[in-house]
Point group: C2
Chain length 397, copies 2
């Protein structure tokens, strides 16, 4: 018999420049909410996975520091890193630990404090998440440059425009304006985006996700525990994972991320979702819009649109509520913010709230099927995690 795994508690800090707290305090904001929501005590937790990329914080190994501050000393723990998909990686590890029977209740904490370092240092460090020896050292590529390569290739092949990219930012800022946890809870106009300065052509300031401090937490539990503590569990139905080449010169093209396609197919297969028409079964998605072009590629890699047609979903506003599939109603990495290690966990919190009808009215997706999808990328498709959350208990594996 397979053991099913549910989210029984969620927590989420305000994202932004959080110089007001240290990393343990920032983590605790989410841990406390998650414990309260689950209605459990710290001593009931069996294990904790801590998602954190680090490199900019003076506390480089924060797992034990954060757990001690939250009264969780004693339980086993480890830090997990898969670049910007670290949060989803930690959820996968916790899911496996519960499903294996090694634990019944596991905390997944995502936390990142990026503003302790000056921005150029942060951007340089993130640049090493690609391939250091070849690309970073030889060509000085950092992430706006990497995603600009994808944007130019995509635009050249399919005819998408800079306006199409900016429309992703406009949508995500629109929904962020209703999300009080977002770093930038305010609308922007297409003109504002188009007139913002270039960071790496064709990507402008408003095409880029920001440097963010933040935390998010979920408490996962076995079916047996979930039944006891909540009448509204959100189930993890399936997780798909894959990696890409570290070296971009070994990629077959620059208009999609192969790892995301593999991870999506794996998740769809496990969850019983038709890969040819997933939008018929999925109510809402959070995708990895570290840059606006990444959201458009995500539509295609996930099968929401055919290859080369993702930008049309944006142009026709089909990823707003009421469209083919609403995407990034949290504001996305773009406007909610992108504290690397917290991002995947933040997606889980958002989708649990969406499925349970608990988000602000203006950004609540209609829930018909009870199925939500998180798409979380590390590097430029170096890591990909696709996670399916459901209201219905998943089928027996």
């Amino acid at each position: 018999m397979s053991r099913r795994v549910a989210i029984i508690g969620t927590g989420h800090s305000k994202f932004g420049n959080r110089g007001d707290v240290n990393i343990a305090e920032l983590a605790y904001e989410s841990i406390r909410q998650a414990l309260d929501e689950a209605g459990i005590e710290p001593r009931e937790i069996d294990f904790a996975y801590v998602s954190n990329v680090g490199g900019w914080s003076s506390e480089p190994l924060p797992a034990v520091v954060a757990l001690e501050y939250a009264g969780l000393t004693g339980i086993g723990t480890m830090r997990v890193e898969a670049a910007c998909s670290s949060g989803s990686a930690a959820i996968k590890a916790a899911y496996d630990t519960i499903k294996s029977g090694e634990a019944d209740i596991v905390l997944v904490l995502g936390v990142e404090k990026m503003n302790e370092s000056p921005t150029p240092t942060v951007v340089e460090f993130i640049g090493r998440a690609g391939n250091y020896f070849w690309e970073f050292q030889n060509f000085g590529l950092t992430f706006p440059g990497y995603y600009a390569l994808y944007a130019t290739a995509y635009m050249a092949r399919y005819g998408a425009t800079e306006e199409d990219l900016c429309k992703v930012a406009v949508k995500n800022h629109y929904y962020a304006s209703f999300n009080p946890k977002a770093q930038f809870p305010r609308k922007i106009t297409l003109e504002q985006c188009m007139q913002s300065r270039y960071i790496a052509w064709p990507l402008k300031l408003f095409d880029c996700s920001p440097i963010t401090d933040g935390s998010a937490a979920v408490i996962l539990a076995s079916e047996e525990v979930a039944k006891k503590v909540t009448d509204s569990p959100v189930w993890i139905a399936a997780i798909g994972t894959a990696s890409g080449t570290s070296n971009l010169s070994r990629r077959s093209d620059f208009t999609h991320l192969e790892a995301a396609r593999i991870a999506a197919r794996m998740a769809y297969k496990k969850a019983g979702i038709d890969p040819e028409n997933p939008v018929k079964q999925i109510d809402v998605a959070e995708v990895h819009d570290c840059f606006t072009i990444a959201e458009i590629m995500a539509y295609e890699d996930l099968g929401f649109a055919k290859p080369g047609e993702g930008y049309k979903l944006v142009r026709e506003e089909q990823t707003y509520i009421g469209g083919v599939i609403p995407v990034n109603l949290s504001g996305g990495l773009k406007a909610k913010g992108h504290p690397l290690g917290a991002t995947g966990v933040s997606m889980a919190v958002e989708l649990a709230h969406q499925l349970l009808g608990k988000v602000e009215r203006e950004r609540q997706a209609p829930i018909k099927h009870g199925v939500a999808l998180a798409h979380n990328i590390g590097g430029t498709g170096h890591y990909a995690y696709v996670t399916i959350y459901t209201l219905e208990k998943p089928r027996e594996a």
Copy 2:
């Protein structure tokens, strides 16, 4: 039905100052051996956990880089960190993934390249594995200082001497002299150790483990796969995990590591080992001798000796082959070397070889019960992992 998990392949690089290879090449030395030993192809691997602390290497996020070099692009992966116990944490994660049914064959790679940074930088970074904000920043404590606190407290309370500490180093160098993979494969005398310079009183140069580059790999598999590919699987019978306070001032005393005791009790309970007399059931152990005092505390935390009597095992040479329980026949962290992320995986490789009677004759433990134990500490008991390996298939959980 619970799924049992076995080691089906092992690999281990030469430990030392490995300026001759980059981090992917260093990793590949172990991955290639493990694949060859298991007799499987890269495409048969479902997932990879990469243990690496980093912070001193120019490639800070090495998982995808190492996998690409080894021809493993495509599979899901994440990096795992639990300070110096990262390798055992990665084994725990992989064990859970297979036991859960999410994968059948998982690679665990531990790799660390510490000599890319100058030694003071490495020592400073490791110092942050304690508690940065309070201890490191305010008092400048680094790891020799931390363990010197334990050594002085232990010596004051129980009457152990500097000679007792040095006898740990003499034993471990003795066995390292027969291990061609060790960083220091040579014997030392008690006088050499006693005359070496103080690093942090009472710890001298020869009481300290070195700065090491190295890699180790194990391939884990489900029982079904293990049966097909090998007639000599080594099983993971149980894993115990725990954490301690990050802040040393919150520890109850400085003569033991509470996390290690908790982890040991958990592992013994799961494996059916009597915690009052574990040496009756365990043939051989690798323990975390980052400093000589740590090996003596390990004897007590694991129940090999009563509290306050661990040093007598050393004084009476009871942890040599032929004694009560042979410990660190690989040479230990002290003389085999301590490439942080690789250490826990290296322990698994060593113990698999011990159980199968495959190590050099002079350092082969007699195997009566088919049971081996790995004790792997992160920080100064911030993390503890105790893993039990067996020749017999573990009981159904």
